[in-house]
């Protein structure tokens, strides 16, 4: 294998979602980039997915440069290193009555951690997702809880609430919607959102980021919904609209890498989860996609 550009051992040893399973076709080879390393993948004649390091010069060898593969949540995952942990659990994915949909894969010119923070952020709803996920003057981010679970090594934000116009498909007015956020992977996050049809259960939206470089990424978005009334196309279009609103904001954040120095930016209480996330990354010693705090 050629020398990797990414030298962050933690980032190298993580699992990354690369493509939805049904887009990997027998006999068709596709290329992409992971942590600045070109890779290629295909589905061989036995139906098995194969991925390998693809050198621009030599082309790479599917046999000798083979990468580990896992199939999970509708995507195939790989790693440039040797992951010591399995892919994090999303138990809801296996519930029989849910619809699991691949919403989209997007390219964004920003570091992966900036996108994770955006995903955890409610304060921007009235401004960026105006009249969809929020609307002025309902701008307050109420108190919520954040914890870092040692045992699961993930960040959990609970009791999050944000006022959403037309929150219920049936109700015409707005109301507070409940959210729970998990960050189980430095570059992935899972969000749970209360659902008008079943007060006991929540819809799940997950983002799995494939950093293509320190300052660019592809993100794969999974939905696991209780929704029975909308078709896949309109559900996808909705998520793509939301994402299309975030993209220009994300691409105008400066610096593109997430600064971990506490004095780089100004947090407010609404950013509790983001602060926990920055500390968690710092404690792990992640360097890829961030500007580490000076020691």
């Amino acid at each position: 294998m050629s020398i990797l550009k990414c030298s962050d051992p933690i980032a190298l040893n993580l699992w990354y979602a690369i493509a939805p399973l049904d887009e990997v076709l027998i006999g068709e080879t596709a290329q992409t980039i992971l942590l600045e390393q070109p890779i290629a993948y295909t589905r061989n004649h036995t139906g098995e997915i194969v991925a390998w390091v693809h050198d621009v010069a030599s082309g790479g060898n599917p046999e000798t440069d083979r990468l580990p593969i896992k199939e999970r949540y509708g995507y195939f995952w790989t790693s440039l290193g040797t992951p010591d942990a399995d892919i994090f659990p999303i138990p809801e994915y296996d519930e029989q009555d849910r619809r699991n949909i691949h919403a989209a894969s997007f390219g964004v010119n920003v570091s992966a951690p900036r996108l994770v923070e955006n995903f955890l952020d409610m304060g921007h709803f009235p401004y960026v997702h105006t009249d969809i996920l929020g609307a002025e003057p309902h701008t307050e981010v109420k108190e919520y809880f954040v914890e870092v679970s040692k045992e699961r090594d993930e960040i959990l934000a609970t009791n999050c609430k944000f006022w959403q116009p037309m929150a219920a498909a049936v109700a015409s007015g707005g109301m507070d919607v409940d959210y729970v956020y998990r960050v189980p992977h430095p570059y992935s996050a899972v969000l749970y959102k209360s659902n008008p049809t079943d007060p006991e259960r929540m819809d799940v939206i997950a983002i799995f980021i494939q950093p293509t470089s320190q300052e660019t990424l592809r993100v794969h978005m999974l939905l696991s919904l209780l929704d029975e009334s909308n078709d896949d196309i309109s559900i996808r279009l909705f998520q793509q609209t939301i994402f299309g609103q975030d993209k220009p904001i994300l691409e105008n954040q400066y610096p593109k890498r997430l600064p971990l120095d506490p004095r780089a930016e100004t947090p407010i209480r609404a950013d509790k989860s983001a602060i926990a996330y920055r500390r968690w990354l710092s404690d792990k010693g992640i360097t890829y996609g961030v500007i580490p705090a000076a020691a």
């Binding site: 981010v141 904001i249 120095d261 004095r263 930016e265």
Partner: protein, 574 residues
């Protein structure tokens, strides 16, 4: 490191790049600027970065007085670049000095000039007092190389060029026409040539001039870029982004000062109701607003961290909003100025539920209202309540002039009961009041609200005329008493079975809160009556202006925010 480069002035934009309400993105020595003109004409040159999460402010919204970030709606003020509003926490003040970096800027000769560390005034550019700004030309080459190339710039055979001490190049032709070119170092390998022509020309002539120089400059650009491409590209500048101040690192805690601001209202309308007095119509964001009583006030938590009390002027049944009147008082600590200058229609404010420490008796046969200036607000609500019930009253309003009469529409409801006394001297006011208060009697009540001296005078006249203490009701806006908190004493809390020490420098209210006892308060200066507490035993030094003299003499209650024990210990009914 400071370099000469940083201390120079450079043109970074043309004046025409800053049309009304636009935000222009400029760059100098690798540093991006958000450049915007406020409606008052002031040109702001700021770091192009929101202090919150680093979003470019050049994609923000210029509303004429403030720049609003697109991501979370933080707002930064014209000139100071201080953050005035954080929508995610409408009850909190963005008080801590959240202030963006600003850079020296000047607008002259049709250009906007800035310098990272420029000092003093922009030096005069002689001979270009009445100039035409030529089209700026970007060139992918270092500033020095462009300057060099400009020495060969010419539009006819008579042109001669010379470098000026500021590094710019002037090219002069024998017919007296001249062009002076300033090279803006956008980055180490990226420049913009911005030129002035020494005559003001218009119309066809201007277009011909611009075309000609665009053409010549384009040629210069091509040559210079070819030359630059042959040499090694210098490393881009790496502007250092200043860190935010240390005190901004920690997330501010929820305010625990017991002044509860549990309501969120939106400013639905803001207008000037009289000279220096704004009226604000506050509407609920959701649900119903709590009931108010005539005479009630609300605490308004202002974006600058201050908490201010304002009386509700509503009439009975007007339950979908609160309307308050705010007088601009430039000398005060900035509460009213903040409302006048930074709170706008559509903003969310955190307020307390209305509290009534100035209750209205509705069992009087006749009620006299005496208002001075902005003191009219609670009395308007009271008189409207009596009016609606058909109860008899008279309303006296003392103002400087007609321009100072606030809430004219509401006042017009009082028809014949309204007496506006304009421009009276203190002596004349005394005479009028002596007349107004001539007849005390059974079930007759007086309500007074106005500035301290007028209030004192009115109370005195009422006492002289034989009005009983219980019939004279008043509300001070503020306590001007000199407060003394130098003694220390103990308080016994009868119902909570606790003994606490109140040291010098702290109020009873402070000590109660420190010990987890929740006591509500509002003005915290002995004027509003919210922190009143019963006294079971002990003598009180009253320093408030809320209790009447009779109540003070009785010694049965205390304003815990300002008053103290005269004895070693007080037993309080809490």
């Amino acid at each position: 490191m400071t370099t000469d480069l940083q201390s120079n002035w450079y043109p970074i934009a043309s004046s025409s790049d800053l049309p009304k309400r636009h935000v222009y993105q400029a760059q100098l020595l690798g540093r991006e600027f958000a450049v915007w003109r406020a409606d008052d004409g002031y040109v702001n040159v700021w770091e192009n970065r929101c202090l919150h999460r680093g979003v470019r402010l050049s994609i923000g919204i210029n509303n004429g007085t403030e720049l609003r970030c697109q991501y979370h709606g933080w707002r930064y003020a014209n000139r100071t670049a201080g953050c005035t509003y954080i929508p995610a926490h409408p009850a909190d003040a963005p008080a801590r000095t959240i202030c963006n970096n600003t850079y020296p800027a000047q607008e002259a000769y049709g250009l906007v000039w800035a310098g990272e560390l420029a000092v003093g005034e922009l030096p005069a550019i002689d001979g270009f007092e009445s100039a035409t700004v030529l089209r700026p030309v970007p060139i992918m080459a270092p500033q020095k190389m462009v300057n060099q190339a400009l020495l060969g710039y010419a539009w006819d055979d008579t042109c001669e060029s010379a470098e000026n001490s500021d590094g710019s190049v002037t090219i002069t032709a024998t017919d007296g026409s001249a062009v002076r070119v300033f090279v803006q170092p956008v980055d180490s390998n990226h420049s913009v040539a911005r030129a002035l022509y020494n005559r003001k020309v218009a119309g066809e002539e201007r277009i011909a001039l611009l075309k000609r120089h665009s053409w010549l400059m384009q040629e210069l650009r091509d040559r210079t870029e070819t030359q630059a491409a042959r040499q090694e590209t210098p490393a881009p500048y790496e502007p250092v982004i200043a860190k935010v101040s240390e005190d901004l690192v920690d997330i501010p805690a929820i305010s625990v000062d017991g002044r509860k601001a549990d309501l969120r209202v939106q400013v639905a309308r803001k207008e000037m109701t009289a000279d220096g007095i704004a009226s604000l119509r506050l509407e609920a964001i959701k649900d119903q607003l709590p009931t108010f009583q005539p005479g009630a006030h609300i605490d308004v938590h202002l974006p600058n961290g201050l908490v201010r009390q304002y009386s509700v002027t509503n009439g009975p049944g007007e339950t979908d909003h609160y309307t308050i009147g705010v007088k601009r008082e430039p000398d005060s600590r900035g509460g009213s100025v903040a409302i006048h200058d930074t709170v706008g229609e559509g903003d969310v404010l955190a307020i307390s539920a209305p509290r009534n420490n100035f209750p209205l008796r509705r069992d009087a046969v006749h009620t006299i209202f005496i208002a001075g200036g902005i003191g009219v607000t609670p009395l308007i609500a009271m008189a409207r309540a009596l009016n609606a019930q058909g109860l008899e009253f008279e309303f006296h309003y003392f103002v400087q002039s007609d321009d100072h009469v606030a809430f004219k529409r509401e006042l017009s409801e009082f028809e014949g009961a309204l007496n506006i006394h304009k421009g009276q001297s203190p002596k004349e006011t005394g005479e009028t009041l002596t007349e107004v208060l001539a007849n005390p009697g059974y079930a007759r009540h007086v309500y007074i609200c106005g500035p301290g001296p007028m209030l004192e005078a009115t109370r005195q006249i009422a006492a002289d005329k034989g009005w009983a203490d219980e019939a004279v009701h008043f509300e001070y806006f503020k306590n001007t008493t000199e407060l003394d908190d130098s003694n220390s004493f103990e308080i016994d809390l009868a119902r909570s079975a606790m003994t606490l020490t109140v040291p010098a420098g702290k109020s009873i209210l402070d000590v109660l809160r420190e010990n987890g006892i929740n006591m509500s308060s509002s003005c915290e200066q002995g004027a509003c009556g919210t922190c009143r507490c019963g006294v079971i035993e002990g003598d009180v030094i009253h320093q408030d202006v809320y209790l009447s003299d009779g109540e003070k003499a009785e010694g049965r209650s205390i304003m815990t925010c300002v008053s103290r024990a005269a004895s070693n210990r007080l037993i309080l009914d809490i």
